[in-house]
Amino acid sequence: MNFNFINLQPYSNPQYFIYLMIALVPIIVGLYFGHRLKTYEAVFSLVFLFLIFDGSHWQQGVNLLIWLVYEFALTFGYQYYRHHGKNKTWVFCLAVILAIIPLVAVKYLTAFPDNSIGFVIGFLGISYVTFKTVQVIMEMRDGAIKQVDPITYARFLLFFPTISSGPIDRYRRFKKDYDKVPTRDAYITDLQYAVRYLFQGFLYKFVIGWFFGTYWLPKISAAALAVGNANGGLKLSWWVLAYMYCYSMYLFFDFAGYSLFAVSISYFMGIHTPMNFNMPFISKNIKDFWNRWHMTLSFWFRDYIYMRFTFFAMKKKLFKKRIRLSQVSYFLLFLIMGFWHGLTWYYIVYGIFHASAICINDMWLRFKRKHRKQIPHNKFTKWFAIFLTFNVVCFSFLIFSGFLSQLWFGWK
């Protein structure tokens, strides 16, 4: 038998957008006339989720369902515990660990070559849904979330415009949008943004991103490998530099384009999914960069890893000096981020590189504060800072790309 499932990977081709826009029409008309068609939205989301995980991807779909049952049991188990007025630290820690175990297992198992495991593990977007769950558990512990509504929670986790790669929304923010219907005026403004983001996304992902990633990058890569192998030694050439810039541009335009689609579709549905990028290449330092690059992820790491650890360490007085504390926190944050990207040397080096960069940046800022009079501050220094940050960031993306691994060791 030859089953021909229609399988649609999110935002992958024009066809997807045509189907999506047609399916969105009732929701748009509904919201315009002041109704949120929750049932229709649910059916429509399920259909599009099904289209992501059917056909040859069905094992992923099964994994998603198992994951969902597991995390639901965990979240509502923890909520039951909290409603009984208890708030033990070890229970909280256990809940968080249990919540991230599936993700850790997937990351660990996928680090092996493909053929060593006989079955499909994980599913598209497991990281992002895990982040959402962890965030809910943490806010339940704080008491910021008093009551999780199962249906809203399911909608929040499975919100299909963002399921595959974010942006990572917050439960309370999502619930606020989801429970209300925007006024007509506000909704028209939403539509305005939605259309703009959609077309900006097309430009980013399918035009600019395509040129950098699909058109130039393979050529540059081939040239860099050929010249590098001929040169020997560290196998460096100007082509590697070209690769660095080209890859950085590709990474930004591809991912920003993708994020714009997710935000755009959310806006059509009257949900203000937060933006992921805010002109990252004009950052004036590394800290500024992380406030502009993959923002929902970096804010998640900031709120739920960096801040938590800092408070914990301060309470326990683990460090005498505040500076030392923030440095350790940065290394912790970026190492976890590195490991999260994958268990290969270049992701981990990428994490260490950024942690070092941000610590050096902090040192420089402290130095500058002390010597404010001697250090000039003008247009030139401002542009120089942007230029320097841009190059440091691009270099980190060269590490991140794994191209050096391919160049030096022949694998990626």
Partner: protein
Amino acid sequence: MSNKRRLWQIFGPVLCAFILLLVVFLIPWEKTFSKQTIYEAAASQNTTVFKGSTMKQEAFDEGYVPFYGSSELSRFDPLHPSIIAEKYQRNYRPFLLGGPGSQSLAQFLGMQGTVKQLRNKKAVVIISPQWFTKRGQDPNAFALYYSPLQACNFLLSAKNNVADRYAAKRFLEMPDVKGEIKNSFKQIAEGKKLTTFQKFYLENRRQMLRNEDNFFSSFQLRDRVNKIHQRAKILPSAYSVKALNRVAKEQAEMHTNSNNLGIDNTFYRTRLSKKVLKRLKGSQRNFDYVHSVEYGDFQLMLEQFAKQHTNVLFIIPPINGKWMKYTGLSSKMYQESVAKMEHQLTSQGFENIADLSRRGSEKYFMEDTIHLGWRGWVAVDQAVRPFMKQPNERYNYDLSNYYFSKKWQNKDNVKRINLTDKERLKAK
């Protein structure tokens, strides 16, 4: 501002963009490619080039000769036909068409756009007996080579005859044929005329696809120009078969020293791991290339050549002898399938055949398992060279619909024809 006006300001530009897009796609744009682009395209084996028209049309007008084939075309050792033609300044340049899985049906479809350009000219076909499996064209591979543009070309010139009905039926079996094109194929398969709407739709669709072809087919060409120039340097400066064979031997010795099957080192390392080797041992004992729909599909290619009055050279490669023994593939069966192909060809007037099928055990003839390389390419050139020296002429063929029949597809024990006996061939 009223809501209506705001909505218009939001969606108006979107609407205009779509209208503009439609207009741009429906205007017939002319495009000529640079000599350099054509040169790159000819050696690229890109599927966009395979599926398109303009690039091929321009190339065939400028002295390129199509080499229809499949994966062997990518065996770019220094003896590859593209490199030999470049090195010895031949009066032709090969235009490589095909890749893994481009069997007769895909090739036939790809040929639709260049009827005019190949009229009374030449073509080379490298047949792979591996195409001739029971089900013929692999549907998944077909997806890679399926060109809606060429489907429109076929449909708009289709006639109600055995060949076109057969072709339409075969295309309908391929999962990637969809929508109105599929409906049109159904009409043709049933011997009906296209409806007015279908004609209108196909004409406009074809215009759009032509523009797409014009705009985008020169993108992302696989650049083998440097490879050609570098490897051409390895060849002897004066042409002689002996000298070429010597270079072939040197190169092959160097590139097959990792195994005793005479297989290219890279291929051996990447494609034949211990696990794979173990699995393949004796696995092809029951392979059968004699009973196959492919014979019918192959007839479609012959129809196309006859329609164009093209002079065609067919090359039938062997299988690496050691590999054949290892996988247990029957040599008798292989030769039987070759005899059947040769019968189909010669009985209809296609007499230029380079039958290399018995030479698989010659050292360094094959690059790996089933693909020609080194000395095999030299043998190919020994057939190509005199063939290309012939003047272009109008060739007439004597075709028979019998070759579309199930009876022929399943026929066995076809007698081998003596290809060297030109008189007997003529008499048939």
